[in-house]
């Protein structure tokens, strides 16, 4: 007998509204359906109504966790359109904040994963250590969450000697605390029983679904925009890409764990190599043209496309978030697993629903589904006419 277990749209394990419909026999999952569309905000449409400067503020708010990745990508793409290069110091500072953000994002995910397998003690401790990163981000940028650090042509705030010393001190603290956490994760037999061999995404499936970021790197796909297409100052830093073969939840966990170490290394290195100079280049006009930019957000490759028509308002901004690529790959991971593992498997791609929402049109007569951008939607069904 097959039963349907609904997980979501509102569910304790999911921090954001998404709907997982699981067809189960007993505890075993036979089919899975993932529905999005509970959280559409029309960001791309709003972006076409605002100036380039106002849009920084808007894209800061696409996602609360990787807000720096979004503005970095947006600012880089606009800089490409405007044909300016930010000063060296700004590039290193972008790396600094981006890597701090990666540490905080990965620790956040690790905590949530531990919570999902019921290890609340480790969850609390990981989040306690994450507070150090949040403090650093607040000291450097002025904000804990939406940092408002990037601007077109550079960054908004500089760091002084005192801050650099504090960052280095805190990095040591975080590294020491994290060492203990990792030891606990690697040695606990119950954790191993819960994550090893669970939710496997094979190399072939991963390629077929086109997954990005840590999800891809856990399935033997060596793809990292920081290496493949270096932006900011990543080509001047010494770091390694973490790739695992297994593709299970353990591999996805370990990729993130070792990336935290790499990020700590990069934060320290970017501060050591920090060149003197200005932190922002003036940008005055946006010539017609188009640009395509990508960065490695904590969840994977983030893509922005911007088309300029010479005014101070972009003609089109397209955002493709990493979760958009990753969420679909949950389906092959879920099949033949148990309900108990479903939230963990779903969380293992670190889905960021807020970033991902698209309008989905379902034709009930033919049961045809079509995904369209908000602009198309408005042209077809809304007030806007061609």
């Amino acid at each position: 007998m097959a039963a349907t277990i609904p997980i979501g749209p509102y569910h304790v394990a999911l921090k954001e509204p998404i709907f997982l419909k699981l067809e189960v026999e007993g505890e075993r999952i036979k089919d899975a359906d993932i529905k999005l569309g509970y959280h559409h905000r029309g960001i791309e449409y709003l972006a076409m109504r605002r100036t380039y400067w106002q849009n920084i503020f808007l894209f800061e708010r696409v996602c609360g966790i990787c807000s720096d990745a979004h503005t970095t990508c947006y600012c880089q793409t606009v800089e490409d359109v405007a044909g300016v290069t930010p000063p060296e110091r700004a590039l290193f500072l972008r790396v600094l904040v981006a890597e701090l953000e990666r540490i905080h994002s990965h620790l956040l995910w690790l905590g949530v994963a531990m919570h999902i397998i019921g290890f609340d003690t480790l969850f609390m401790q990981i989040w306690r250590d994450r507070e150090y990163v949040q403090d650093l981000l607040e000291i450097i940028t002025g904000n804990r969450v939406n940092y408002a650090y990037n601007t077109i042509g550079g960054v908004r705030r500089d760091v002084d000697e005192k801050t650099i010393r504090l960052v280095k001190k805190y990095m040591d603290t975080i590294k020491n605390a994290f060492d203990k956490t990792v030891e606990a994760i690697l040695q606990d037999p119950v954790i191993e029983a819960r994550v090893k061999g669970v939710g496997v995404l094979t190399h072939e499936e991963a390629k077929r679904y086109g997954v990005v970021g840590p999800t891809a790197r856990a399935s033997r796909i060596a793809s990292d925009i920081r290496k493949d297409d270096p932006y900011a100052a990543y080509d001047r830093l010494d770091w390694e890409m973490i790739v695992f073969d297994e593709g299970d939840v353990l591999a996805k966990t370990l990729v993130r764990v070792y990336e935290v170490y790499e990020s700590i290394k990069m934060v320290n290195e970017s501060l050591e190599k920090l060149p003197p100079g200005p932190i922002v280049t003036e940008v005055s006009r946006f010539p017609p043209g188009e640009a395509f930019g990508r960065v490695e957000a904590p969840r994977g490759e983030l893509v922005y496309y911007i088309k300029s028509n010479g005014t101070n308002v972009p003609e089109r901004v397209k955002v493709r978030t990493p979760s958009f690529m990753n969420i679909a790959s949950v389906k092959p991971m879920l099949l033949e697993e148990t309900i108990a593992d479903a939230p963990l498997i779903f969380a293992s791609v670190d889905p960021c629903v807020a970033c991902t929402e698209r309008v989905i049109i379902v034709d009930s007569r033919t049961n045809e589904k079509k995904i369209m951008t908000f602009n198309e939607f408005m042209i077809r069904y809304g007030r806007k006419r061609k």
């Binding site: 039963a3 609390m124 606990d188």
Partner: protein, 338 residues
């Protein structure tokens, strides 16, 4: 006249001490100390000492919602079944009445020669209450929670019973009361010796008894619904499991049961394994130690999956209890030489 006195004493026994209010208060305190310890070990502040009472008072003042699709009778009956099992088991336990050690332990009015078997069933009744709750609530989360509870009950009951059999064989009695009296004379079960036992065999026998004790504690963890066996209430997967649809007074009854459980199960453990108290103070201290052990295991562990828990009980807990039981019997055989 004596009849009237006996009735009054029985009522006091059932409602005030040690059944009823006293047990509820102590259970709430144990539950609070678990929550506080857990919070402190997780770098949190934790609840104030009256939190459990505040929760229950709040729940009893709230509206009780019974889902239309639920089986109404069973839905209402489920918390009552659980509470009945818990309270009756409590009434059968010989809990010391005096503050200072005395010669005569308090005998429960309900006690009889084979009450340990009844207690075994009554403790299972608590879980049956939860299973009925989950199954009758017509919620998918409740149904999955109930099925997991059944699995856990089936797997943990066998090692639980085998451990108890180990104690019974050593004590040569089925009465919990007599066990308490015997331990008061000869020392706690875990470390007591039999006449004519040479030191080597004594150490071996204690090791076997510790096997029984560990297996028993693991089963108690499953009965309390604590990590790594809190699978029926895994909130990330199935919300509150069997209790998902419960609210108001019915949920309040479950909370009362839960608080009582925090006294009954540690007390039962103490009576079986490290008992022999005639003073309530040492008894409560021993209970608290058991609570601390349970809390510690809960804090340092994540949650097993249900199939893994089943395998764990069959492979580890059952094996431990069987080794303890058979070893204990062999040692006794060597001494008695039957």
């Amino acid at each position: 006249m004596t009849d009237v006195m006996e009735v009054i004493l029985a009522i006091i026994y059932a409602a005030l001490y040690p059944g009823g209010l006293f047990a509820f208060f102590m259970g709430a305190m144990f539950l609070w100390s678990y929550r506080k310890l857990r919070a402190r070990m997780q770098s949190r502040v934790g609840p104030p000492w009256y939190q459990v009472f505040a929760d229950i008072v709040k729940l009893f003042n709230k509206e009780t919602i019974i889902p239309k699709v639920a089986h109404r009778t069973l839905f209402v009956l489920a918390p009552i079944i659980a509470l009945t099992g818990c309270v009756t088991a409590l009434w059968l336990l010989p809990i010391p009445a005096h503050v200072l050690p005395t010669a005569e332990p308090l005998v429960s009015p309900l006690a009889f020669w084979a009450d340990i078997i009844v207690i075994l069933y009554l403790l299972a009744l608590i879980e049956v209450g939860e299973i009925v709750a989950g199954a009758s609530s017509a919620s998918p989360y409740g149904a999955v929670g109930a099925s997991r509870r059944v699995n856990l009950l089936l797997s943990s009951e066998l090692p639980f019973a085998v451990s108890i059999v180990g104690v019974v064989i050593f004590m040569k009695t089925l009465s919990v009361n007599e066990m308490m009296v015997k331990q008061a004379k000869e020392g706690p079960f875990l470390i007591t010796s039999v006449e004519g036992l040479d030191p080597m065999l004594y150490v071996l026998s204690v090791v076997f008894r510790i096997c029984l004790f560990i297996s028993f504690l693991l089963c108690v963890l499953a009965k309390m619904g604590k990590r790594p066996f809190d699978i029926p209430e895994a909130e990330c997967e199935i919300l509150a499991g069997p209790l998902t649809e419960y609210s108001g007074k019915l949920l309040g009854l479950f909370e009362v049961t839960n608080a009582l459980k925090w006294f009954v199960l540690p007390a039962f453990t103490v009576i079986l394994f490290i008992g022999g108290d005639t003073s309530i103070i040492t008894f409560l201290i021993k209970c608290f130690v058991i609570v601390l052990i349970l809390a510690y295991i809960d804090i340092i562990n994540p949650r097993y999956r249900i199939d893994q828990a089943y395998k764990f009980f069959m492979k580890v807990a059952l094996l431990l209890s069987l080794v303890g039981l058979v070893g204990e019997m062999l040692v006794l055989y060597a001494v008695v030489g039957v």
